[in-house]
Symmetry: C2
Subunit: 185 residues, 2 copies
């Protein structure tokens, strides 16, 4: 039941398939924080190894949680307070293990389906609904790099809409994924 | 089966509940265009009565469809080409009627549920799957104004995640709505 989400900025691919650190996008933090609050995530981990990028993420969060934004929009403040900025995924996993007593089941997402065996939404929905803690990872840039996908317990099916085209933003892909996995109705 | 989406910038509410024209957000156009292409929408109408805002939307679209962006990212170009910028919703409805031979069934969306009777996702999914053309409207700012909601044939249930909190961005709300109404799986 307790689930966590992670937005990975490293290791991810760029358009050329090279492993890079991607930059923080302001609206990614807002949209995924609001999704986290809406669907009941315990924490939303922003994974980025660059100190200046971590500072940026914390500044954005600070504005809405403790700064002017908090007075302006209480709902936003509630959502943004779920953000935890970490250098590496391992830090998040250690923190979650500390809270839950066990490492979370790690579920990676990706738009491609040619990387390894994938599992269905109903299958992962059952896992999320179980007592075990789970963590769902979303990639920025051109997707989470192989080396991290390999470490995950499961890789979710890519989102298919009504055609073979599935080039969604991480914001909208995360929305669809969380709705399929965690919605009440 | 043929369905259209509209992103309404007027008439919408601001935080104080006043009817305003909201500004174009670059990432709204990208995210909703990519969703439109993914879920098979015929056109994505950006409704804004301000000429400079229309110009902005057309400039963004032009960059990706005919400009440098088209060479950089063909998938994006394909999605952005679905955008039509109109001053008023009526223009979109007239255009759709010209294409489809009949006005579309108009479905409004809103985060609140205290405005009028709402209909379920399975109900609207049936309508979208039927032969009649449909148009799904998403509001920017603090939601579509009453005067336009009243003109719609149906108002969809608000999206509920796992709590009473449902303050999503229009990008993520549109993603969840289209997935619930138009996904294959």
């Amino acid at each position: 039941m307790p689930f966590y989400i992670g937005l990975v900025h490293y290791p991810v691919y760029n358009k050329q398939g090279e492993v890079i650190v991607s930059a923080i996008t302001n609206l990614d933090l807002h949209d995924l924080a609001r999704l986290s609050r809406t669907y009941g995530a315990e924490r939303f981990y922003v994974v980025n190894p660059l100190i200046d990028q971590q500072d940026l993420a914390r500044r954005i969060q600070g504005h809405w949680v403790g700064g002017h934004g908090a007075g302006y929009n209480k709902d936003r403040s509630e959502a943004m307070s779920l953000i935890s900025v970490v250098s590496r995924l391992d830090e998040a996993l250690t923190e979650i293990k500390g809270r839950e007593g066990t490492a979370p089941i790690l579920i990676a997402t990706d738009a491609r389906d040619d990387r390894r065996e994938t599992v269905s939404y109903p299958f992962v929905r059952e896992i999320v609904a179980s007592r075990r803690a789970t963590m769902i990872l979303f990639g920025t840039g051109w997707g989470i790099a192989e080396e991290l996908i390999r470490d995950a317990d499961y890789l979710l099916d890519p989102i298919m809409g009504a055609s073979e085209y599935n080039h969604l933003s991480v914001r909208t892909a995360a929305a669809i994924t969380l709705d399929r996995l965690c919605s009440q109705n």
